[in-house]
């Protein structure tokens, strides 16, 4: 399945957002996720099904002003 993850194309087997994070080795504890412009909270990732062409954003804490 082809997805856009953080603006980059990926071809993955994962069917859920939870599985996608594991497949792409995003194993950090502090991640925020969004699917097609909507927030997906951490406990909701396992039930969050992915579809062809979905846009996924995976964010993490960084320096900021």
């Amino acid at each position: 399945m082809k997805l856009l993850v953080n603006g980059q194309p990926h071809d993955v087997v994962a069917q859920s957002l939870d599985a996608l994070l594991a497949e792409l080795e995003f194993d950090g504890e502090w991640l925020a996720t969004a699917l097609n412009g909507e927030l997906v909270r951490s406990p909701e990732r396992q039930a969050c099904r992915l579809n062809e062409g979905d846009k996924v954003e995976i964010l993490t804490p960084r320096q900021g002003g």
Binding site: N6, E25, G28, A32, L39, T60, P61, G65
Partner: protein
């Protein structure tokens, strides 16, 4: 004591965490500033998911309050989603709301700012809006639920210092009970003292400290300037006069002619 959304703070400095020469200097500067609130952002994580963890572990070890921002957002939708994601990660309903309207000046899009502030306030966020010094925009932000205002005094990172003292005085005068924090444009400790002497409640710094020759010493200098300016405001300052007034008593002076 400074009170922001029911949280009482003894420091009147908020410090950004970006652009420091090293994580160690960042940590030392935070401590030297005496701040109890640091600002952070959310950015795309690269595969592996560990780079954010390292920074976040450092920040958490400080035990300060964290104020996530929506820096770089240009639309209501971007800002609202970023705020929601920040709340999910940082477990705080505080959000420094930035909706940028101009690439060169980083001036807030105040129309989008008010709309985003309304949506987020309705959703339970405690919004710290990065705004201009416009009085009417400030009124609108308060109307939609903001209980703190964070006007710029000059463009972000410019170091120009307060450009419009009249507007800043006007904000202070119109909102005597609303915490007012100067969010952007400060370059020198004297700038910080100036806005604190006007009666502002706090300042938010980043570039002026991070890009100083010695960020740790500069953080300490700003903290002193903020304390001095605040103490001066509380003490009641002399109003300027157009004519000289002798400080030494005239009565009793010797006459030699």
């Amino acid at each position: 004591m400074l009170k922001l959304y029911s949280t009482e703070l003894s420091s009147r400095v908020l410090l950004g965490t970006a652009q420091y020469p090293s994580p160690a200097i960042l940590m030392d500067a935070i401590k030297a500033s005496g701040t109890e609130i640091v600002t952070v952002s959310l950015r795309r994580e690269m595969a592996g998911g560990k780079s954010g963890d390292k920074f976040w572990s450092l920040i958490r070890s400080l035990g300060t309050y964290v104020l996530p921002n929506t820096a770089g957002c240009h639309t209501v939708k971007e800002a609202v989603l970023t705020a929601q994601m920040a709340r999910d990660v940082f477990a705080t309903d505080w959000i420094k709301l930035e909706v940028i309207g101009n690439h060169d000046t980083l001036q807030p899009d105040v129309f989008a700012l008010v709309e985003a502030a309304r949506i987020l306030s309705d959703d339970g966020f405690k919004v710290f809006p990065y705004t201009t010094d416009d009085l009417i925009v400030a009124e609108r932000l308060l109307e939609v639920g903001c209980e703190v205002l964070m006007p710029w005094c000059a463009p972000i990172g410019s170091g120009l210092g307060p450009l419009n003292l009249h507007a800043l005085r006007s904000l202070r005068g119109n909102f005597p009970d609303i915490p007012l924090i100067i969010d952007a444009g400060l370059g020198r400790p004297s700038h910080a003292a100036t806005v604190m002497e006007l009666g502002f409640d706090a300042i938010l710094l980043n570039t002026a400290v991070a890009k100083a020759g010695d960020p740790v010493a500069m953080a300490r200098a700003f903290a002193k300037a903020v304390d001095a300016g605040h103490a001066a405001f509380q003490a009641g300052m002399l109003e300027p006069r157009d004519v000289a007034v002798p400080s030494t008593p005239v009565i009793g002076r010797a006459v030699f002619t």
